[in-house]
Point group: C2
Chain length 433, copies 2
Amino acid sequence: MTGTTQDDYTDRYARRVRGMTTSEIRALFAVASRPEVVSLAGGSPYVAALPLDAVGEMLGRLAAEEGTTSLQYGIGQGTAELREGICEVMSLSGIDASTGASPDDVVVTVGGQQALDLVARLFLDPGDVVLAEGPTYVGALGAFQAAQAQVRHVAMDADGLIPAALEAAIAETAGRAKFLYTIPTYQNPAGVTLTDERREQVLDICERAGLLVVEDDPYGTLSFAGDAPRPLRARRRDGVFYLSTFSKTFAPGLRVGWILAPHAVREKLVMASEAQILCPSAFAQAAVTKYLATMPWREQIKSYREIYRERRDALLDALEDLMPAGTTWTRPEGGLFVWATLPDGLDSKAMMPRAIAARVAYVPGTGFFADGSGAGHMRLNFSFPPPDRIREGVRRLAGVMEQELAMRAVFGTPTRHRRRGHAGADTPGPDLA
Amino acid sequence: MTGTTQDDYTDRYARRVRGMTTSEIRALFAVASRPEVVSLAGGSPYVAALPLDAVGEMLGRLAAEEGTTSLQYGIGQGTAELREGICEVMSLSGIDASTGASPDDVVVTVGGQQALDLVARLFLDPGDVVLAEGPTYVGALGAFQAAQAQVRHVAMDADGLIPAALEAAIAETAGRAKFLYTIPTYQNPAGVTLTDERREQVLDICERAGLLVVEDDPYGTLSFAGDAPRPLRARRRDGVFYLSTFSKTFAPGLRVGWILAPHAVREKLVMASEAQILCPSAFAQAAVTKYLATMPWREQIKSYREIYRERRDALLDALEDLMPAGTTWTRPEGGLFVWATLPDGLDSKAMMPRAIAARVAYVPGTGFFADGSGAGHMRLNFSFPPPDRIREGVRRLAGVMEQELAMRAVFGTPTRHRRRGHAGADTPGPDLA
């Protein structure tokens, strides 16, 4: 072990760094990746379902035959070919030329995370407010925190974001809210989907309030029964930024995502991205372009859907069969996640070390709220472990919860651990997010 | 053409966006990539010199045989295997365990640009000052500008940064300067190298002033005669951040760079990177790891050196033979760039449209100064075009300059165009940076 372990640089950091702290939970997640642990904590797609030999052959040819461009620098916005492919993908969801989508207004990013960070950079000054579902995506909280913005959560129910709660939040933060950040479809972590009716209401409310909408849609095509409701961007062209990624429909290891933005904003996004990464990987872009052009990508999405539906069913069945009374959970129609609410008095964060000892991992609900609330909840992933492992994980988890409840019966209800500050401190690393 | 072309979002942008403006020069660079134009503007390595078939075979196997990890998410810091490989690469330059370098203190980044941006994010508040060579790397100016910092340039001569000028700059910016940003070896764009003696002086000056040093070393191994002087980080462990990339020694299309940072700072860098991109590409990392482990990467660097030395000679010979009297230029011992100073009265920015019309491109000196000065200079690249194209490009450029000088003789000396504000506005896109 070398290097200074004490932080002699504390006085030198920029103000935006002050909210960044490491967490004891983070270390636990390193353990969660051990093979004996059933991890329901991750957000990893099941890439073993890809035709890896064919993908390998495709990637090999990209370097051998087109290496002088695929291994070279590219332009900051991303290649025209990939941006056209992205428009083809978006047209599946009703975002097409008739709703003003054009390759010229697409910016290729390093996964969905850079898309979020660029939007944060472009619009957020310190002290600005972002409205976001509560709970919401961990990585979005990280990007907004890095921009020194504050997140005001808006409540959801089984039908997604509650319009009246959105109106109340807008009134409360009058003039300080820059945008609504929302994952309307198969939300991460809640697993719920905004209904058609509410989509129109949310758009109307935001338009009336002059509030921009940042729509994050990584899971929209991963539906288990029929198609998801059309994205917000397919319904309204002005004031809606649409973000998505190939991480869930192809492979996250290439880090290719995108933003569809109004033309004038697109130029700023490109400049901001160049300051950050110069240009996205030409090789990764060529890989996705070739994948879309030569491989059965629509069938691959169907294959992911079937695998995840089976695993979702395994998780819901196991929860039904094994969870202690008083536990409730959402029933997602697509995506990767179930959000569970624990029996009163249980604390998902405090319970983590015991869960890891029992060889099961999840993400405590505290990671998904900017104010550190959420200890009564946890996120459970069903995309990565096979069905029998999912059931075994739930069995272990239920055992830990029963023990906790028994202790509670003996020693009384503990005060639930609450914490203020940056939620990211409680979050796993990206391999588990 | 779809999308709003007028910017209705002007009032909504964060303050950091205000300095970002597009430029008429930028559009010219799009033209510069046409095949009939000899581009001396780029910074692209000659990746055609790579054994592309072998690289392709390697990449294909990575997906086919290791796809379940290489196409999956990874950890924010980057893989342990690649960080070990990076330490092996750094040990070539004398940065090793004896000087406190450890894989644990390496953060893998999306090329050298993200490394710069992360350092900027970590240390720069609005109004903070960065000391940097004048001229300096375009992308660094972009990253510092995005952090709303100010750049105070420090003069160079043929031996690199002038220590007395550094001392004066430190005195002038007392308390506001956060770090010295320097490219000591084969500087971009100046092509000069800081001497051994001055390296010690610069380190002593910064240590006395309590000023951090950010050492950017993308070109250090690309020497044409003997090895370069040892990096600053090989001489001093405390307070020096070392940044480099595989873009110039392997391939930029994979976007893999790194930072070697003091241990405590490394943790913050990882958190900042996760907020920005979640994690670097597992595939790109596996590609570089495998490249270092199984292919003759040291021989490839030698091959790049020989190609670039021949092209540097071609450029210097052509300049000597063809440039109008009064033109001067640097004589780099490595790297990719020559910095030329024009005869009095010529303006490299104003001349660009005529150069493009004459089918030759360069980067005007104005791109490399935060205050828009530098119109009397230009950067010439010799890594990408073959020797005969370099000579043809210089011939065309000399013709344009002769015409300009003739006009000047007739119409008198024009006022040199000077501009205040963000230097990035005058810069080419990343394919040319």
